[in-house]
Amino acid sequence: MTIELKINGRPRRLEIEPGDMLVDVLRNAGYVEVKKGCDTGSCGVCTVLMNEAPILSCSTLAVKADGQEIITVKGIEKEATEFADFLTAEGADQCGFCAPGFALTVHSLIKENPSPNEEEIRHYLAGNLCRCSGYEGQLRAITKFVEAKK
């Protein structure tokens, strides 16, 4: 079957099987910035925005994206680049596998709550796991990024 959707602002028609998960469809279509770390919706690395809200593309059927608007980290490149400066300046980045999904979730956090406190940051991003860092540097980076955006 075919789905029609917008990815990063561009209309796309994609051939899918009814049981396909969005993460696999996106990766096969070349959007390899969407990572896959599990199959149980537990790690957050597959996060994309669907109609501006973060979703886990590994637990979203691709058919659900029919007619919707999907944003990957490439779709927020300008903001992600700014955020990357903060993250790398804090030395908060390691293997980077969690980073694109994390950057998207930070984007929606700030959109929903322009001045989150530490607890709100930890809570909102709890689903974005990182096995390399101790989360400390990420927290510092987000805090400074939020400040700078004000």
Binding site: R27, K36, S42, T81, L87, A89, C95, F97, A99, A126
Partner: protein, 785 residues
């Protein structure tokens, strides 16, 4: 010793950081050829079985299925997948595919198909008939069990290590200094305790992946998420009986390793399919496969005895260990020896010390290398027992350690006796700031030995605990790294290194080291790493070796490069190379030397940039590429140290333990890039905290893994942890690159004992088996009432 650094000991953004955040194609699966056959493995559903029959006829009828390969189709060469140097200190007990399967998840057959869905479907259609055998799941029963995990006659070891497969013994080890029993019997205070540690999963977020293709020269190319391309190439050559010149192994970015990607896994099966079919292939593990069929930390039972006089002078330590290597013996012996060699020397003033035991096979997911590598288990037993001893002595546990810990210009016989599987090396400790770490840590956590426990409301108690730790910096006389520098037009340098950045930032910090030695900016160093065709040799990313071993190799390469530059400039101007100096920007005639005035047009210098164009474009018959290589293998392995302090909160109603604050004062010598060193420590701490509190590989009674996903096997989220406060001691190891020692593993070691000690201070009960789950903590509290 110079501490006037311009490049190292400075922050520098991780060079690949931004690219990774922006999601540029970087990891193995991002880069795999679109037309690659998708490879899937049929895996055993039994813990132990003999394969009677594999019927692949239905699968082969499926359109799009390229091949199904079983043990009948592959060479039968016993190997170890450990990914170690040569000769390997691990038993060669694994075949590409075998008629026996030894744990649930073991490889039965290999399927390749045109796409994911077809490959999946084919796997379902393959019928395997097993003769199910009684599995051995309990390491305690290994030696007496009727089950023999490795009945095959071909398994062997490359040197004697006590390998006795009939008794399920992968290796044994024993060492002894002095008369431990006698010294202990004369001690005023002794502690004797059994501790147990569980299997922990690495849980790197990128699942293991590999792809394979034939290049234009018809050579096999493997791209994989490996921590050690060179060892991987060697092992692949061994299994496929192929000259190494026909194989290239490289790695792109890696999404975390922690030792889990030191062992080779999928490379074997991608190469099998490509060599059989001539077509490109790729294989990516599902998360379930990563849990069940990669590797985990060795589960251990540690019996420790230690004793002191009335003043708290430690006199003897005895540590006897049983280690579970699971179905295959990767790293069985070396993790075991590290358990002693990287914990016991902390207290080097004892009169007697003994360490030994066995590493046994079971039908569990194989154990392998994992950050901490034995040291973490040994540290848990030692540092828990030290606090128990302090309690008996009525002494501040920090003071007991202070009295006994190793210091600069001291040594331990253990360094000489115990190496990685064989003998060790003599080593005088030239940098050890444990005293500072301890003092600073006490201050940061507000350590008051009289008040290590405090009540808070609602049935909650807070308490503090501490532990020390040491690790190593590479494997002396065994690990070798090398680097090549090459001058490019426009005056920058290519740095080619075999070292493998697995997400740690090593490419970044190694460029800083090269820049510091050359006197240039690290922006002028372009790094290319870990590709067997294109970079010089390096053992890879393990054993806390990259900063120390490869870092030292880079210093040598840079020193050679400066010499080559001076000589080339001297030749150009017909002057003496001794009279030329390089300041990072220009090559100039030394003040007062006899060559003054001999450069062209009476100038005293030429810029590196100008010279780079000259040597590559303007010198006619004299044009040449200027390059230099350096290699390093250490005579010693200077340990980094840490003092870890924590404050925890225990809910007496639920048994839940929370880490509110963790202070880790670290002596890693010079931190080459303090930010990246800090995040290495923080990441290590959190993995250690996860292991202490909840991470546990859990099996069913038949040996199937229950914790095979992130819901059952929880890794810490950002809500699960309080503050992590990392600081570095001012320290400089004269043998390290610009004073640096390793920092990758040390962070993981202290939480096990520090948190256990805090829990004891909170509740008065000593839990001796990890993890400290709420159920266990609650039961212990209840049993006390």
């Amino acid at each position: 010793m110079s501490t006037q650094f311009t490049q190292v000991k400075h922050e520098r953004a991780k060079i690949d950081g931004k690219g990774l955040i922006l999601g540029r194609p970087a990891y193995t699966d991002d880069l795999a050829p679109k037309d690659a056959l998708v490879v899937k493995l049929v895996r055993s559903t039994h813990a132990f079985a003999k394969i009677k029959k594999i019927d692949a006829s239905k699968a082969l009828e499926l359109p799009g299925v390229e091949c199904v390969l079983t043990h009948h189709d592959v060479p039968r060469v016993p190997i170890t997948r450990a990914g170690q140097g040569h000769p390997e200190p691990s038993p060669k007990d694994k075949f590409l595919l075998d008629e026996y399967v030894r744990y649930p998840g073991d490889e039965v057959a290999v399927v390749a198909a045109v796409d994911e869905a077809t490959a999946r479907q084919a796997v379902e259609l393959i019928k395997v008939e097993y003769e199910v055998l009684t599995p051995l799941l309990d390491m305690e029963a290994a030696e007496t069990s009727d089950t023999v995990v490795h009945p095959e006659p071909e398994a062997y070891t490359m040197f004697p290590m006590g390998f006795e497969p009939k008794k399920n013994i992968a290796a044994t080890y024993d060492m002894n200094i002095g008369d431990v029993d006698k010294v202990l019997s004369e001690c005023d205070y002794t502690v004797e305790r059994r501790y147990t540690t569980q299997a922990q999963a690495h849980a790197a977020l990128e699942p293991h992946a590999a792809y394979c293709y034939y290049d234009l020269h018809s050579r096999v190319n493997i791209v994989s998420s490996t921590q050690n391309p060179f060892h991987t190439r060697r092992i692949l050559g061994e299994v496929f009986e192929m000259p190494l010149r026909n194989i290239r192994v490289s790695k792109p970015r890696i999404g975390g390793g922690f030792g889990g990607k030191q062992q080779i896994h999928l490379e074997l099966y991608a190469m099998l399919v490509t060599t059989k079919t001539g077509k490109s292939s790729k294989v990516v593990m599902s998360r379930k496969e990563v849990f069940e069929s990669s590797f985990a930390r060795h589960k251990m039972r540690l019996d420790i005895r230690l004793g002191s006089d009335k003043e708290g002078n430690l006199k003897a330590i005895d540590l006897q260990v049983l280690s579970d290597t699971g179905a295959y013996g990767e790293h069985a012996l070396t993790v075991f020896t590290n358990c002693g060699s990287k914990s016991l020397p902390l207290y080097n003033k004892v009169e007697a010390v003994r360490f030994g035991g066995k590493i046994v096979y079971t039908n569990r997911t194989p154990a392998g290398a994992y950050r901490g590598y034995g040291a973490i288990q040994g540290n848990y037993a030692l540092e828990s027992a030290m606090s128990e001893l302090a309690h008996k002595l009525g002494m501040d546990p920090a003071v007991l350690r202070e009295k006994n810990m190793i210091a600069e210009n001291e040594t331990s016989d253990i360094f000489r006796i115990m190496g990685e599987g064989g003998e060790g090396v003599e080593m005088m400790i030239e940098s050890c700031k444990l005293q500072y770490c301890l003092d600073r840590g006490r201050k940061m956590i507000d350590w008051n030995p009289k008040k290590l426990r405090s009540e808070v409301k609602d049935g909650k108690v807070r308490a503090k605990g501490m532990a020390l730790a040491m690790q190593g910096s590479g494997i002396p006389l065994i690990d070798m790294g090398s680097a090549t520098l090459e001058l490019q037009d426009d005056g920058f340098f290519k740095l080619l290194i075999g070292a493998t950045d697995i997400g740690t930032g090593s490419d970044t910090i190694l460029a800083q080291i090269a820049a510091e030695e050359l006197g240039v900016s690290s922006d002028d160093i372009v790094v290319y790493s870990s590709d067997t065709d294109r970079t010089p040799f390096d053992v890879g990313a393990y054993a806390s070796s990259t900063t120390y071993v490869t870092g030292n190799a880079i210093i040598r390469a840079a020193q050679n490069m400066k010499k080559v530059l001076r000589e080339a400039v001297a030749e150009k101007f017909g002057v003496d190379a001794e009279d030329i100096e390089f300041n990072g920007r220009e090559l100039r005639i030394k003040d007062g030397s006899k060559s003054i005035g001999k450069m062209k047009d009476g100038t005293q210098s030429i810029t590196l940039k100008e010279f780079s164009y000259d040597t590559l474009y303007h010198e006619g018959a004299n044009m040449k590429t200027l390059a230099a290589t350096g290699s390093f293998s250490g005579h010693v392995s200077p340990p980094p140290y840490m003092a870890g302090f924590c404050e925890i909160e225990v809910d007496l109603e639920t048994g839940k333990v929370e880490v509110l604050d963790y202070v880790a004062v670290t002596d890693c010598g010079t931190p080459i890039n303090p930010n990246l060193a800090r995040i290495q420590v923080e990441g290590g701490l959190l993995q250690g905290i996860g292991m202490t509190l909840h991470e546990d590989v859990v099996l069913s009674s038949s040996g199937k893994m229950l914790s095979n996903n992130f819901m059952q096997y929880k890794i810490p989220s950002r809500e699960d942890v309080g503050k992590l406060r990392v600081e570095f001691a001012e320290s400089y190891d004269p043998t390290g690159p610009f004073g640096a020692k390793s920092v990758g593993e040390i962070g993981i070691d202290t939480p096990l004992a520090a948190i256990s000690n805090a829990l004891y201070n909170a509740t008065g009960v000593r839990l001796t088996s990890l993890p400290l789950t709420p159920a266990k903590v609650l039961a212990a509290i209840e049993s006390q009432k």
